[in-house]
């Protein structure tokens, strides 16, 4: 506002001040952008260099003879612990764990939000309050209790295996991680969907009831098709969190074949045998970061739009 009214008084000094302000603002922005982008830049250039170049050259220099060799090595040959078959297996481990965990927690969050706003029951605020509380629990504090529960589930799986012939995946580390991430993601997904559905016109639900739609028909035909923005927000949020999670991954699937990407990357970098292959490490780290980057780039504009939706309505 002051920019509009002030120049009338100090027209002469105004132009210079404005220019200085601009320079300071853009200068600071450029500086911080540089600061934040530097590590990414170093990672990227290092991953395309040969080991000779890394050992003899400047860290910030562009690769003299760019090579994709480190990327292929990271993907298919590098040693994770004692096995040397690259990180590709662990990449798929993460995908197999993240996709079901994201979808299940998002759908359950949507269902919770739907019930908490459109099918209110006695004590719904208390239930929502408790679910919200789940967002504030430090995950370190639940590591041991959760390990106990997963252990019991595993033993139950074994006895199921013996009596029925199948364990239904109980005790499988990937299933365990999906379970853990669904449980601890529910607080956030419920919060997102409840707040979105709070502003969702209840008359639509009533109209559908009069039209004869059932509880789940209303959810599937009316609520979900009109939830795209918050759906995208929740998927991005959950995908990033679960993909990047290291704590649960290392605690419940830290060894063996089901190890997710984050743990595998840590093992690649921490290998103590032989020379440290920085270019391979960097390539592996880039591969590990790629899915979340892609999700942001593809759905990022929905992310911003979704966070704004409801704030200024219509």
């Amino acid at each position: 506002m002051s920019a509009v009214t002030a120049p009338v008084r100090r027209a002469s000094g105004g132009v210079n001040m404005k220019l200085v302000n601009r320079i300071v603002i853009y200068g600071l922005l450029a500086l911080f952008a540089l600061f934040y982008l530097m590590p990414l830049f170093v990672m990227l250039v290092t991953s395309f260099k040969t080991m000779d170049e890394i050992q003899n050259g400047n860290m910030l220099a562009l690769p003299q003879s760019p090579t994709l060799e480190p990327w292929f090595k990271a993907w298919g040959e590098t040693c994770v612990g004692l096995t040397c078959a690259g990180i590709k297996g662990y990449f798929w481990n993460s995908i197999k764990m993240v996709v079901p965990a994201v979808l299940i927690s998002t759908m359950m969050g949507a269902l919770n939000g739907y019930v908490l706003t459109k099918w209110r029951f006695r004590g719904h605020t208390l239930v929502f309050g408790l679910m919200l509380f789940a967002c504030f629990i430090p995950f370190q504090s639940v590591l041991l209790p959760m390990a106990t529960i997963l252990g019991s589930l595993g033993r139950f799986g074994v006895s199921l295996q013996n009596s029925v012939g199948t364990s239904f995946g109980l005790g499988n580390p990937t299933v365990n991680l999906v379970f853990v991430h669904v449980v601890y993601g529910l607080g956030f997904t419920t919060l997102f969907f409840r707040n979105y559905y709070e502003a969702f016109p209840t008359e639509l639900v009533k109209a559908a009831q009069v039209d004869g739609a059932s509880f789940f028909q209303i959810f599937r035909r009316i609520m979900l098709p009109n939830s795209m923005p918050i759906f995208v927000v929740t998927v991005i949020y959950q995908f990033t969190n679960i993909w990047n999670d290291f704590l649960f991954a290392s605690a419940y699937a830290g060894t063996g074949d089901a190890m997710p990407m984050t743990v595998a990357l840590n093992n690649v970098v921490n290998t103590s045998t032989g020379v440290v292959e920085y270019n391979v490490n960097m390539a592996a780290a880039m591969i590990a970061a790629l899915p979340t980057l892609i999700v942001y780039v593809v759905a990022g504009r929905y992310f911003v739009r979704g966070l704004m939706a409801g704030a200024v309505k219509g």
């Binding site: 109209a207 009831q209 004869g212 035909r221």
Partner: protein, 371 residues
Amino acid sequence: MAFLEIDGLKKRFGNVEILKGINVELEKGGFLVLVGPSGCGKSTLLNTIAGLEQITEGEIRVDGRAINDLHPSKRDIAMVFQSYALYPNMTVAGNISFGMEMRGVPAAERQAAIDKVAKVLQIGHLLQRKPSQLSGGQRQRVAMGRALVRDPKLFLFDEPLSNLDAKLRVDMRIEIKRLHATTGTTIVYVTHDQIEAMTLATKIAVMRDGEVQQFGTPAEIYNNPTNLFVADFMGSPAMNLIPATIATSGNALSVVLQREAREPISLPMANAPAGLSAFQGKPIIFGVRPEALTDPEGAERNASNIATADLHIEVVEPAGSDTFAVTNLGGKGVVARLRADANIQPGTNTPLAFNLTKAVFFDPATENRIL
């Protein structure tokens, strides 16, 4: 036996009684309007008929069958909502046929029904559009189409015109009335607009604080309001409700109204209603509609009881079709309705005629009609 019967209906939320014993009946093909200020319970009453709210006590019968424990979809009703409540993700055709789809009607039959309704409401060219691409009036039509297509026993309208602009509202009002006349359906309609109530209804229920204040035909409600609330709420401009006293002059009764800075005026009541003499010397409320207070030339010729008095005109409002003059009686502004070309100036004293056959009297203590 009436087609729609609401019998001793009560609705409580916790300790708060929202509806305090509603009794209403409507014949088949009737048009019932529930009217009242916001918070009077009219929308809640409609929702209980629809089954979107459970009732605490009483019974709702349609065509002799109690429906108050049935799921909304089993009640054979259709509802038009205030916000239209069109499903934003479906086309107009999808919106209209959603109910049939839920009831498992085959696709060919659905298409035939859509086409029929689209023809009646002239929305054939809109069928493939999404609700966001429609104007307010078109959305209103689609919402009505969604109700019409079900061919239900009972139509429920929840303030369907309140989101439209003034001109469109009048058009749609006429359209609803025409639709009612041609299809002969039974309608329950909620509004806070007393003009809509008067023009559309065959029966009006005026509600306040969860109670029906008066239930009757529009003419009954307008001409014979049972209490001050109904008298004040129905009619625009509102009925003049003037504090007055009853006096005897000779063997006839007269109504005495206070004027500002002048001697009171006394209106002789020929053929005064019998109960009025009991109120001699006591304060009463004298009610007269603006059209029953007019210039002597414009007064109804065959009215049996007309009294003329000289009144000080404070404000003149020419409204085109009529001219309204505001004066002051008994400490209150009083509106008179004159012919459009009436020659009247503010600040002058002008004789105006009271049509006392149309006058009503209320007891200020109970707020009820005296006779």
